[in-house]
Symmetry: C2
């Protein structure tokens, strides 16, 4: 596995591999790799000739007062785990190698970026879209692996790839869960013991919503949302931010449920802000 | 010369040429090609193995009430002229081939885009930055040729290429002028006979400003601007919008002139809105 801190070296390595006929798989991350990331890297290594991983805690996607400074940074373990999972190249640039001057350019996906996570975290998806466009430009033609766990991010990335005609095939990777259903997330390490026990309540609420549609035949979107809200209330440590049933491509909320749909929940558990989602009546997990 | 209306075919043609070792030169245009464009195409064909030209009247960069509908469209002549100038591939897509759905993604270059032309034409440079990013994504690694005539556009493109790490080398092409100094522009055809005679006044005013700095040693930016304003006033048909002396990279106006600098003028002559600029104390024309 080749590790570089230099974006231009990363570009060259991938370009050279492509020139020799390799299909490149890219998994962009902010590090703090957990088994969810590693499953994505394994999938990229399995599908492609070369799995490339980026590890960069992107300052553009953190708002004021968010956890940019405290975001877990575990580079040595990350590199060992990425190697083990089959990564061939890792880019882990220092901030000044990514931005030699303050960037003035922003990539924004209107509409999609403003709702749900975007409403709670203004500017977040502009930061995501901007860094992802830059990482795609560095990586060149590739398959890019993104977890379904960050479902809105996946939708934003798919849309910007289509709108900007980027030479990238976006691949959605299923959410990896703990045995009790909690979606793996780098932010789970913020959870205390009681909070950790309460946190899977988010997933159970999503499943309650899913059952209400798939088994009980509920089609009133607001009723489905109430079902999820009531399920969340059973866990007092889960401080619900939003629950929603949406169209999968643009995350528009559905008054009447049309399938396939997606259920989204965000909430705080202690000092961790957690998000999760499930598919209803369609592909995906 | 290969002509295609399909962006994906354009991508493939250029990718194949690159795979065979060709250096690709790209000149994005909105058509209505004049000898200024043709000089850029000739330069691309001279410097590179394959000169690619795009002809697309980009709706994203026109504001309401601007001349999108009326913008001159002269495809047959454009293709003949591009061929003559050495173009190897031309992409001239119908709007629906560029945008199969309404694009939600915008690329914006903060600061740079808001002043001068951006102040007169809100959203204009976001439209330029977005389409240029898309054309660059389709073209892949290339040298991209942009005229100095649209100096702010050149600065915006340079900045977005740097910020987004696009695999593009931006090449500035000198402004081509009529014998009386008028910068070539597709919008010159809007000029009536008297207006055509008055229009070079913009260039003469730029030269007056340039002389005041280079020959008279003027360093007070406001005095330089007044010199240009007074020169414009000699042509009553020139309705000055702004005259400015700016730093070349970010187009920040200069209270005290530091070299190299750039002089900018925009004004209306009849129904044509014209812009022009000259270099002071540095490279460029």
């Amino acid at each position: 596995m080749i590790v570089t801190g230099q974006p231009e070296e990363f570009r060259e390595l991938l370009g050279r591999a492509r020139a020799e006929g390799a299909v490149v798989g890219l998994h962009p991350t902010m590090g703090a790799l957990h088994p969810g990331h590693l499953a994505n890297i394994r999938q990229a290594a399995h599908d492609c000739d070369l799995a490339a991983v980026t590890i960069f805690v992107n300052p553009l996607q953190f708002g004021p007062g968010e956890d940019f400074e405290k975001y877990p940074r575990t580079l040595d373990q990350d590199l060992a785990a990425a190697d083990e999972a089959g990564a061939g190249v890792v880019l882990c640039p220092p901030p000044e190698a990514m931005f030699s001057q303050v960037p003035l350019t922003t990539v924004a996906v209107r509409g999609l970026s403003g709702r749900w996570e975007g409403a709670s975290r203004p500017g977040h998806f502009d930061g995501v879209a901007t860094i992802v466009t830059k990482l795609f430009a560095l990586a060149g033609e590739c398959r890019a692996y993104f977890g379904e766990k960050d479902f809105q991010q996946l939708a934003v990335v798919r849309r910007l790839v289509a709108d900007l005609s980027l030479p990238v095939e976006v691949v959605a990777c299923p959410t990896v869960r703990e045995p009790d259903g909690l979606a793996l997330s780098s932010r789970n390490r913020y959870l205390g013991q009681d909070e950790r026990r309460a946190a899977p309540g988010i997933y159970w609420a999503l499943l309650a919503g899913k059952r209400s549609i798939e088994e009980d035949g509920l089609r009133d979107g607001h009723e489905v949302v109430r079902t999820m809200v009531r399920a969340c209330e059973r866990e007092p440590l889960v401080d619900l931010e939003y629950a929603a049933v949406v169209r999968p491509d643009d995350l528009e909320p559905l008054d009447e449920v049309v399938l396939p749909a997606r259920l989204l929940i965000a909430g705080r558990v202690g000092r961790a802000r957690l998000i999760d989602n499930v598919a209803v009546g369609g592909e995906g997990t």
